[in-house]
């Protein structure tokens, strides 16, 4: 028994890749997930970013806008830029921000909202409701904002609510006596919210609700299907990377070990020809893998694949090309299969976590979203989301295609450079 333990410990100590896999990998992943999902590191930027459009320009709407801006859970902007220097947003501009994925939610206080409030209070009457323009891809932000609108409406304007209530009372229940009016006047200032905090609370506000219409600005033909496309792309891209790296490792390391690489290099095929050939093979396999994934999504989960074919095709070719090239880089970098296995597992899982394959990036903090842009997955997923959620035309995919295309060329050049070690010594 002691001998067996001794053999095991010696092997473990001398195989650094295995050692790293056993001890370092779990710590790396724990840290990544703690940062991605915990979000404690950057509370300032984990607030939900929203746009607020005040079409009403009444005292009530101004109070609500100010309340939303003071709300700690939100970062509300009323102008086209976050600094507030540009002109106020109109409804179309706010909707565009949501459609383009810059913000998950926009709040529109429509014209006539204040007038209706004066007549009926928040809840009653037939006045126009507040509109919440949202992106269905984000299931959480609209719900949070919806709740906060209720809170802000109640806490930002309890005095106005009370005034409205008193008017209603006087209209239907008869006028107040001078003593009653004096009592109300004395009590009213206490309902006014403290400046800036928006935190005043009042038992009088309880039990009422502001009418809010949630408007899906994405207008997708199949919401469930669109959501499925996120998972198809996320999981598809992650496994594409695994299979590309595995395939490339098989292509280069196994061939080098078996001697077929030497034999191939002694034919008319040079190293460049060999790498390009292998890259095309890996890219075709990756394309097929993504296509099968999306077809499964189409027939089993109703993913709207056929109505988005051009965008899907362009993104799939770009993603597969870059993934295959990355696979070649890793395979040319690693000296052994074990190294490739260990290193690529760490890299792919890290990129998948940061790049949104496991957890949507739009739900991460702003800092994590920016870090995610350094990963391959983020650009690939952004492209697929543009196609299936934002209904983007093919030309609108140019930033993603540019990044993935550049990455492909850089990866191929890097792989060619690293592959020199297999050429004549």
């Amino acid at each position: 028994m002691r001998t067996l333990l001794r053999i095991g410990f010696i092997n473990l100590r001398r195989d650094r890749v295995v050692l790293a896999m056993v001890f370092v990998l779990p710590i790396v992943f724990f840290s990544i997930f703690a940062v991605v999902f915990g979000g404690q590191q950057d509370p300032a930027t984990s607030r939900i970013r929203i746009a607020v459009v005040d079409e009403d320009r009444s005292e009530v709407s101004a109070r609500i806008v100010a309340g939303l801006q003071n709300e700690k859970g939100l970062r509300a902007r009323t102008t086209a830029d976050e600094a507030g220097k540009q002109p106020p947003l109109d409804r179309a501009a706010a909707e565009r921000l949501v459609r383009d994925g810059d913000l998950p939610v926009a709040v529109v206080v429509p014209r006539g909202f204040g007038g209706s409030f004066a007549e009926n209070g928040f809840a009653g009457g037939t006045g126009p409701p507040i509109q919440l323009l949202s992106d269905v891809s984000d299931r959480i932000a609209p719900q949070v904002v919806l709740g906060l609108i209720q809170k802000v409406a109640m806490t930002a304007a309890p005095d106005l609510l009370m005034q409205g209530g008193m008017r209603q009372f006087e209209k239907y229940g008869g006028g107040l006596t001078p003593q009653q009016k004096a009592a109300v006047a004395e009590w009213m200032p206490r309902l006014r919210p403290p400046d800036k905090t928006g935190q005043a609370s009042s038992p009088t506000a309880a039990g009422l609700a502001v009418a809010v219409d949630v408007v899906d600005v994405m207008r997708t033909d199949n919401r469930r299907g669109s959501l499925i496309s996120f998972y198809a792309a996320g999981i598809g891209v992650m496994f594409l990377l695994f299979s590309a790296v595995g395939g490339a490792g098989g292509v280069l390391l196994d061939e080098a070990e078996s001697g077929t690489l030497d034999r191939l290099l002694s034919t008319n095929l040079g190293m460049t020809g060999l790498l390009v050939g292998k890259w095309i093979l890996l890219a075709l396999i990756a394309c097929a893998q993504l296509t099968v994934m999306f077809l499964w999504g189409r027939f089993v989960f109703g993913l709207p694949l056929f109505s988005h074919l051009p965008g899907f095709a362009v993104m799939t070719v770009a993603t597969a090309s870059a993934g295959a090239a990355l696979g070649l880089v890793l395979a040319t970098l690693a000296k052994t299969r074990a190294q490739l296995q260990g290193f690529s597992t760490i890299l792919i899982l890290t990129m998948s976590a940061l790049g949104g394959s496991m957890f949507p990036r739009f739900l991460m903090s702003e800092t994590m979203q920016k870090i995610g842009l350094f990963t391959f997955n983020a650009w690939a997923l952004d492209g697929y989301l543009k196609v299936f959620w934002r209904q983007a035309a093919v030309w609108q995919l140019w930033p993603q295609l540019l990044v993935l295309g550049t990455a492909t060329l850089v990866f191929l050049a890097l792989a060619r450079m690293l592959a020199r070690r297999w050429e004549a010594a």
Binding site: R263, S266, T267, N268, A425
Partner: protein, 314 residues
């Protein structure tokens, strides 16, 4: 009339501090089957890889058909049979041949014809459609050779082509190589097997520490090194008496007593018929009788030991 097809002149190569080739030179003639013999680490594989354009020399020159080999590309006249069985195990024999044939520029009927020829030559025609993973070691070795000669190269380099195969398969492989040599192909092979080099190759080059230390036919090598002596080994019924060692000399040649077994006596004799009877008589006079006698002619083994001071497998 043979003509030179390959020449290596003063080849030098270092890998870090290790000297792999230290001025090695050799020539290969047309239709010749040349054995490159040497212990492990002598520089055989480096030399083969340099000729194949897979190792860049630090110094010296390699010319193939009077054109310099640049160390970057494998010349098209060359066929390479690597030491490893460099085949795709999931592909059939025919598919492997087709793959490597087309990478050598063969296509269409020419490819089919060469594949059929290579399968026939290596006696694998009946297993053409079987995946290589199901092949025996000897069959894999033969297919490994077939893939290297498929494009009809004029010079073939073989690195340990018979390693790890049984004697029958080894004979079959050498039959293939002899066929090729007869058809005018020049072959240079590295081997550990002295008997193979001795029996099957027309000439032998012995390399050690990156240098060629002898080259020629077996008789030339014998003349150059050990001479025309026979080695006579006698096993006695008891140990040779300590004081008889000086007395037991034949024609001035010292008789050696085996260090491990004092009953075994070895002597080098130029003329066995004349020199052996006096030795037997002296043994009788010393009170010993002979249980066994072995007479061996000069071999590559003795040449090799003479030149390198060690057995080939050290």
């Amino acid at each position: 009339m043979s003509s030179r097809v390959l020449s290596v002149d003063n080849a030098r190569k270092r890998f870090g501090q290790a000297v792999a080739l230290d001025g090695a030179s050799l020539e290969l003639q047309q239709g010749e089957l040349l054995a490159l013999l040497g212990p492990n680490g002598a520089g055989k594989t480096t030399l083969i890889r340099a000729i194949a354009g897979r190792v860049r020399l630090d110094g010296g020159e390699i010319t193939l058909f009077d054109r310099a080999v640049d160390g970057r590309h494998t010349p098209p006249e060359l066929g390479i049979v690597p030491q490893d069985v460099a085949l795709y195990p999931l592909l059939t024999a025919r598919e492997n041949l087709e793959v490597f044939g087309s990478l050598h520029g063969l296509a269409g009927p020419a490819l089919s014809k060469q594949v059929a020829w290579a399968l026939e030559l290596t006696a694998l025609a009946d297993r053409a459609r079987a995946p290589v993973k199901d092949f025996s070691g000897g069959m894999r070795r033969r297919l490994n050779i077939a893939c290297g000669i498929l494009h009809a190269p004029r010079v073939v380099l073989l690195d340990e082509p018979t390693v790890g195969v049984d004697p029958q398969s080894r004979d079959r492989i050498y039959d293939v190589l002899a066929d090729l040599a007869r058809s005018g192909v020049s072959l240079l092979l590295t081997t550990h097997h002295l008997e193979e080099a001795e029996a099957r190759c027309s000439r032998t080059v012995i390399i050690d520490h990156g240098r060629v230390i002898a080259a020629g036919t077996l008789s030339e090598l014998v003349e150059q090194t050990v001479g025309r002596y026979r080695l006579v080994t006698l096993r006695l019924d008891a140990s040779v008496p300590d004081d008889s060692a000086v007395a037991l000399r034949v024609n001035g040649e010292e008789i050696t007593v085996d260090a491990a077994d004092a009953r075994i006596v070895k002597a080098r004799m130029r003329d066995v018929a004349a020199d052996l009877p006096p030795l037997l008589e002296r043994i009788r006079l010393a009170g010993r009788s002979v249980e066994d006698v072995e007479v061996r002619g000069p071999s590559l083994q003795s040449v090799f030991i003479h030149l390198t001071g060690r057995e080939l497998r050290e």
